[in-house]
Symmetry: none
Subunit: 312 residues, 2 copies
Amino acid sequence: MKGISVTATLHNQGVVGRLRMELPSLPDALQRVAAQILEDPDAATRASIADLADRAGTSTATVTRFCRVLGFSGYAALRVALAAEGGRAEQARWETDIDREIEPGDPLDRVLGIVASADSRAIQETAARLDLDRIERVAGAVAEAGRVELVGLGSSGTAARELAFRLERIRVPCWFRPDAHTALTNAALLRPGDVAVGLSHSGRTREVVEVLAEAREQGALTVAVTSFDRSPLAQAADVVLTTAVHETTFRLAALSALHSQLLVLDLIYVAVAQRTYERTTEAFEVTARAVQAHRFAAEPNRNRRSRSQEDS
Amino acid sequence: MKGISVTATLHNQGVVGRLRMELPSLPDALQRVAAQILEDPDAATRASIADLADRAGTSTATVTRFCRVLGFSGYAALRVALAAEGGRAEQARWETDIDREIEPGDPLDRVLGIVASADSRAIQETAARLDLDRIERVAGAVAEAGRVELVGLGSSGTAARELAFRLERIRVPCWFRPDAHTALTNAALLRPGDVAVGLSHSGRTREVVEVLAEAREQGALTVAVTSFDRSPLAQAADVVLTTAVHETTFRLAALSALHSQLLVLDLIYVAVAQRTYERTTEAFEVTARAVQAHRFAAEPNRNRRSRSQEDS
DNA sequence: ATCATCGATGAAAATAATTCTCCTGAACGA
DNA sequence: TCGTTCAGGAGAATTATTTTCATCGATGAT
């Protein structure tokens, strides 16, 4: 009699994606269940709860618990969600399903296939899962902020740098701090109305977490961009923007995480630009002129005038 | 324990479609069930068998019979099939990729669609067009090089920085020069056997071209990463790696150019890593340990240690 | 070092859902 | 009218799912 309730599918798309994301933060037995499902989501739609429990080497009780943790009303609901997703995947055949670790001996064309599809999927999945209201909220805050601090180490730093670079061009008072010390110092100088954005794929880079914590303490709006929304970084933030992990293999995920992060940041950028239209267009013109001077003249004939300050 | 068998879905096309076809030839009570499902297939995936029976004004037994008639092993199987179909429909809607300039007033979800599909396509296209022999050649040179210089301004600098970051980790003596002056100075110090990589989407950033020219003069291998293979930058290089521009709009191309560049650089990175396997793995371990120290332990309960140095 | 606490877990009880059995009654044909 | 057939439903039987509860082991406080 009791119907299946789907409250779960909040920020809706992608049970599998979400699963991947939460996997590290799950207890042991639940992880095993998750692993089983990830290994063959389709099989899971067909199996009974007992089967699944069995294959995961755990009890049915645990599987039910698992469903609950993910926010489903029960096993039936999970099954339905998985099936819906499976249908979707089937539709999108273009995904060359090469989910594999890259081996030292792999021919480069294979590597290319793997990397390109992982990247591309990372983008799709991030797009599917992004919560636009949060982006709006962040953009609003950034547009008004007295100062914006960006922190990220390693690859995440690359993404942060890019956003800083773009925001600067539209006159947002904004800094990217590639090192922990400067970042922390400046975080301490933030005030209410300011914004701090911390990026970390894993959400566990200590320095970044600390910076956000400090920023929050000062009353700034803190934003986390991470793939794991229960990670320490996420917990230290007011707004969490989740990048998808296609979690093929760890190494690969790390490569494509950057693409996901960039997508998120692109959106923030666009949303901010929209909010500050006059400032923006005028700023564009100024910077465009500045950049232009460092350009070789556009070839005699060919192609559309390549102006634009985005370009470099 | 009994799993769901799907013999039925073999001649697979559309449960809903088939239902519609067979409807007239079904007995009364079954027709009512079918009608209920057709009216809202989605609701059916959520309802329990009792609900459905109820709404169809019939008994649960009849619903089971109904499932059997359609060739399903039982209600659960039907439910899964319906869900899969629903999912497919939903996906179809997503595929609208739109080639448009982004306007100040665009709602963010539209922006997301545009940006995500542009990025994703940029990746696909770059992958399709990439000349792997050239990548091999570059990788070979980088693996052997005494020093590698990377130059790029603006967004291209972001890409360059990322590659530098990665190459450093696998012990390639490598520098990213974010500013023209340093870059030029160091280019002048290159020698045969060294490598200089210049990145510029347009291929017309004067500084970058100059650096490559200088490097070439010193006998280093010069590599251009650009979207225009007849641009000044391309002409100043020994090897040209072309990133695709999906002639969308200029602004958009500029955003996604970064993704293309990153893909190319990822490949170089992997190819280099493959060539220096021992060096690489050993270097990975060292850097992994270094990074690990700056991590928060993985969530309360232990679960798999999430290492990986790529991650950040 | 010892104890208290807490969360994770599985066994088993409890409940719910599904399937099966069997019976009724209507429709049809001899 | 009487069999025969078959759709359909009630409820028993079965199976699946969920809940409860006791146990275990890790962790942190004393």
